[in-house]
């Protein structure tokens, strides 16, 4: 059978409107799955690649870097020593500091990068462009055009720059557009000559990095020399692109969470696709049963089916990728803001060929399986299908029941005894759902059947009879399964997201409530209080009315191995140095006292596990002045994915050789309120426009919003699953109803009125969807616990375990009501078909 004949046959079949509509539904179903997968892939890769892209555009051909351990950097005298090392071809000084640009149109956190334009031509393309820019010798900064536009400034216009608590005015010497620096135009950076950057940041004579290019074959020798140099200077020697590694670790929990949720989306998308394909099965089965006895060989049938699958798959993938692209543009845009405090995370959209290939591959596999799997018996035993299936079917339900029960038991075991195997628990739960669904469906159907007998109505009777009819059962179960998996997905995702949200909120509350009022540098970039600023007169603050005490809080990020840790240094006056709910090992009171006494620190559990540390053991923190601490207790990661260290403010000052505060913690005297004290302190500090004064509650709110922002993509995934579920289920139901026209025309000969038939269709749809959704919601509640456990074990995030029943009820009600409301229209149209005495075909 030639390709032309297969094509001709396909085109001939497609002329039937029913077949065309069915094929369109199948394409839509697969496209939704492909779109979900593609959009979540693009969102994930955009996040990690934006940092890697920026890193590579800065480091260029350099191989190594000397990296400061603290925000204070190191003396630039080290640069001369590096340049004198034999084998060093280039040593590029860089001063990097978190800052905020403030313009008339708004403000934006950026990574201020100062470098030496004379050598920048040897670095990456971003700095090469900078060397040629007109600001090279000027006292000005260069901003990417989108950032400049966002804050409302243009070239050669003044702009305010806040570094720490200091706000100063500078000039935008140039704006760099996409034509010049490509995708990096969307990166949150500002470029300046290193000397000027030192002036802006108040770090004269200091830099934070030196990028080094070695001569061929000399890298190992240079590295050894650098390590000797670094040991004396208290700096790190790392690969030039080490930021990508650090970011990969930092974004891993976020990615793992998204992978988990994307996997749920992909599974649901796949179910949509299969379900949509099942609608087309009867037509294909009929075709095979028609042509097989005429002498069509098995290979001919496979050729015809493969062609069908290819057409469906290719069209669906094209539509799906376009739809996914749109989704990633419109919906999946929010980058997790909290990561931008420690990394220059851009909001560029990066589409990798791997994302396209993965999505298309999944779509084609779904189409292939959807076409071939339901017809495997006809392909394998085309001429004895009835005999074979009759024999095999007898044993199948029992096997399914057995697999379902074993899978459910396995899920329970995982949940109770081994949370680390939670991904296995997710899988077994879905297997259990798919296997047990027919039995639970029959159970619910029987319950409805008993109930409907109390009322004397024809519609429910026909609905129940139709749902029990063998020819339509597979299709009915497929639709119920789609609703069930979709509701399971949304309930599990929503519940685990709520658990995560509650955990993060509790962590933020624990940290923020250690003071009544906080004084920190203004701007979102300082939300974690990690930027040092010039010390205030602490005694004057303490004398303000309503102030009971003032403590110096210090904090920053510190690279330890491949983790960029959040260092929290609590003042000795802190009433709660360790957030109580975050403690995973150790005694809260004792650990708190030990931390404040100095020499002890609380470590995140994952970090301690990585370094094989237990409570009481000693370790050396690789601070600018490496210092030995003992482990006072173990905690969660406090919402910062790579982990956190809690120590005393005084110990921090010694280890970082800096007395600069990152925040002031103010305790309020009895008889006054935090808000009143906030106002008093704000008035006293009005000559410091770079400082913000907030009550603990206000700061908490900021952190809640940040946590929300970090979880926004999960919310979007959940909403998309729900929308896609409603559309897919409604589509499948609509198509199923449309296929009933012959049957309805036949039944009408018996004298049934339109109203009865319409109510029958609505009743049948409602039964299918509510049964599927109810089963999905039930399993979803277990799924919440399993996914939450999976997240807790995979990410180390603080998670508050609980079951969110409202999520189950909402998802169940939404899918059921909306889907039934949508199918009411095709139902109304179909029952208008004139009565005909033709035999109904399924």
């Amino acid at each position: 059978m030639s390709f032309a004949d297969v094509l001709f046959l396909y085109r001939a079949r497609l002329r039937a409107r029913t077949v065309l509509i069915q094929e369109c539904f199948a394409i839509l179903g697969i496209a939704i799955g492909v779109a979900l997968l593609f959009a979540s892939q693009v969102a994930s890769t955009s996040l990690s690649r934006s940092v890697a892209q920026l890193s590579s555009q800065i480091v260029g051909n350099t191989q190594l870097q000397l990296d400061a351990r603290g925000p204070g950097g190191f003396g630039e005298g080290l640069l001369t020593e590096v340049r004198q090392i034999p084998g060093v071809k280039l040593a590029l000084p860089v001063l990097e500091q978190q800052a905020t640009v403030i313009g008339p149109g708004g403000e934006r956190s950026i990574d201020l990068i100062g470098t030496d334009p004379r050598f920048a031509r040897l670095a990456g393309s971003l700095l090469r462009r900078f060397s040629a820019a007109q600001i090279a010798a000027q006292q000005a900064i260069a901003l990417p055009t989108p950032i400049a536009r966002e804050v409302g400034v243009g070239s050669l216009q003044p702009v305010k720059l806040q570094v720490g608590a200091t706000v100063m005015t500078t000039l935008v010497g140039a704006t760099l557009d996409e034509g010049e620096i490509g995708g990096l135009a969307k990166s949150p950076v500002a470029l300046a000559p290193v000397g000027y950057a030192q002036r802006l940041t108040g770090m004269q004579g200091r830099i934070t990095r030196i990028f080094i290019q070695t001569r061929p074959g000399r890298e190992a020798a240079v590295r050894a020399s650098l390590e000797r140099l670094a040991a004396g200077a208290g700096v790190n020697v790392d690969p030039a692109n080490f930021d990508s590694t650090l970011f990969a670790v930092a974004s891993q929990p976020e990615n793992q969470g998204e992978i988990l949720f994307s996997a749920v989306s992909a599974l649901i998308g796949f179910m949509f696709a299969l379900n949509a394909m099942l609608i087309t099965v009867p037509a294909r089965r009929k075709l095979i049963e028609s042509i097989r006895p005429q002498g069509a060989t098995r290979s001919m049938i496979v050729q015809i089916l493969l062609f069908d699958a290819a057409v469906l798959g290719v069209l669906a993938c094209l539509v799906g990728v376009a739809l996914g692209d749109l989704l990633s543009l419109v919906v999946f845009r929010a980058a997790p803001g909290y990561l931008s405090f420690a990394f220059p995370v851009g909001n560029q959209r990066i589409v990798l060929w791997q994302s396209v290939a993965l999505s298309i591959g999944a779509g084609l596999i779904a189409a292939l399986l959807g076409v071939l799997w339901p017809l495997r018996d006809v392909i394998r035993h085309p001429l004895q299908a009835r005999e074979v299936s009759a024999g095999v079917d007898r044993g199948r339900p029992l096997v399914r029941l057995g697999i379902g029960l074993v899978s459910l038991s396995l899920t329970g075991v995982v949940l109770l005894f081994d949370p680390t195997a939670a991904s296995l628990g997710d899988l077994t739960l879905i297997v259990a759902l798919v296997c047990l669904l027919p039995f639970l469906f029959d159970l619910l159907l029987s319950a409805f059947d008993s109930l409907q007998r109390l009322f004397d109505g024809a519609s429910p009777v026909i609905a129940v009879t139709e749902l029990r009819t063998p020819p339509t059962r597979v299709r009915s179960l497929a639709i119920a399964a789609t609703a069930a998996v979709a509701v399971l997905g949304t309930v599990a995702v929503q519940g685990s997201q709520s658990n995560l949200q509650r955990g993060l909120d509790a962590s933020a509350h624990g940290i923020d409530s250690s003071a009544d009022v906080w004084v920190t540098p203004r701007g979102e970039a300082n939300a974690f209080a990690t930027t040092p600023f010039r010390a205030l007169d602490q005694r004057s603050l303490a004398r303000l009315p309503g102030v009971r005490g003032v403590g110096v809080y210090r904090g920053s990020f510190l690279n330890w191995g491949s983790r960029r840790l959040w260092v929290i240094a609590q003042p000795t006056s802190s009433r709660q140095p360790i957030p109580p709910r975050e403690l995973l090992g150790g005694d809260l009171g004792l650990a708190g006292a030990r931390v404040l006494s100095g020499g002890w620190a609380v470590l995140s559990q994952a970090l301690a596990a990585e370094h094989h540390l237990h409570v009481g053991q000693r370790f050396t923190l690789p601070a600018p002045r490496p210092t030995t601490f003992r482990v006072a207790a173990l905690s969660t990661n406090l919402g910062w994915p790579p982990g956190a260290v809690i120590l005393s403010s005084q110990a921090y000052a010694r280890a970082w050789a800096s007395g600069a505060p990152s925040a002031y913690e103010i305790a309020v005297a009895a008889g006054t309120t935090p808000a009143a004290v906030r106002d008093t302190v704000a008035r006293a500090l009005r000559s410091y426009p770079g400082l913000a004064v907030q009550t603990a509650a206000e700061r908490e709110q900021l952190h809640f919003e940040l946590a929300n922002q970090g979880l926004s993509r999960i919310t979007e995934i959940r909403l998309l699953i729900l929308i896609a579920a409603v559309l897919a289920v409604a589509g499948a139901l609509g198509s199923m109803i449309w296929q009933r026209r012959d049957l309805i025309a036949f039944i009408k000969c018996e004298g049934y009125r339109r109203g009865v038939l319409w109510r029958w269709l609505c009743c049948e749809s409602a039964l299918l969807i509510t049964a599927g959704s109810a089963i999905g919601a039930l399993f979803g509640l277990v799924g919440q616990l399993v996914v939450s456990r999976a997240l807790a074990s995979a990410t180390g995030f603080p998670i508050s375990l609980g079951v969110e029943g409202s999520a189950a009820v909402t998802s169940f009600a939404l899918v059921s009501v909306v889907a039934v409301a949508i199918v009411a229209l095709p139902g109304f149209l179909v029952v208008r078909v004139p009565a005909r005495t033709v035999s109904p075909s399924y």
Binding site: M1, D5, P293, T297
Partner: protein, 238 residues
């Protein structure tokens, strides 16, 4: 040309009760001969046709076509046998929905990868009185017309043997006579033998030879009704 020797096919239904669908059938059909298998529903007609088409394997006995045992064929040879030597006239529901009359009739030619399928089937469809309905889709054809498209599909590959299972089950008396008259005429021209399974004595009357099938056994045929004599195409059209 076709010889059935001691053909036996038994089934077992759900509760273990044996059904003798075909029970020791012996029959011969010569080239160009029109044979009717007459019997009520459940008498074994369809099973016998499926055995002749090698769609099922017998418990015992054999079917010889031009001296060749069709049950000795491999799967591929069985497919080839059905594709090139048999013409099977199925039910009108088996036509591809949406496809045009000429496309449906060309189906077997597509399967045999034969070029110019349309040029082959168009004259056939015209002979069958469908000249003006070539481009009509399945849904736009009457039951009688669909049946004639099925005849065209079965004869398009010039088969040696045509098997027809209740081809006029959905037609009225007039249409039955018309369709069977055409089938007989075209098969005679092509020297193709026809085995027709029917429960309709009027349809059986078109045959040169009628065998009655009861409980899987061939019996002497005793017509119970006055049969309408076979008519030619021109008579039927008139």
């Amino acid at each position: 040309m076709l010889e059935l020797r001691d053909l036996v096919k038994h089934y077992t239904v759900g509760d273990g009760e044996p059904i003798r669908a075909v029970d020791g059938v012996q029959m011969s059909v010569a080239a160009g001969e029109f044979v009717a298998l007459y019997g009520p529903s459940g008498s074994g007609k369809t099973t016998l046709l499926e055995l002749i088409a090698a769609l099922q394997r017998p418990d015992r006995g054999t079917v010889l076509l031009d001296g060749q045992d069709i049950f000795a064929f491999s799967q591929r040879e069985s497919d080839e046998y059905r594709l090139r030597q048999l013409g099977i006239i199925g039910q009108p529901q088996n036509l591809i929905p949406g496809a045009r009359a000429v496309e449906n009739a060309s189906l077997k030619l597509w399967l045999t990868n034969k070029r110019n399928a349309r040029r082959t089937v168009e004259p056939l469809l015209e002979r069958l009185g469908l000249g003006g309905r070539l481009l009509h889709r399945t849904e736009q054809l009457s039951m009688g017309e669909r049946q004639r498209v099925l005849i065209a599909m079965a004869l398009a590959t010039d088969p040696k043997l045509v098997l027809a299972d209740e081809p006029t089950g959905t037609l009225d008396t007039h249409r039955t006579a018309e369709v069977l008259g055409l089938l007989r005429e075209l098969c005679r021209e092509r020297r193709a033998a026809v085995v027709l399974a029917t429960h309709d004595p009027q349809a059986a009357a078109f045959a040169d030879q009628v065998h009655e099938l009861r409980d899987g056994r061939l019996q002497a045929y005793e017509p119970e009704h006055v049969l309408v004599p076979a008519r030619s195409l021109s008579e039927a059209r008139a």
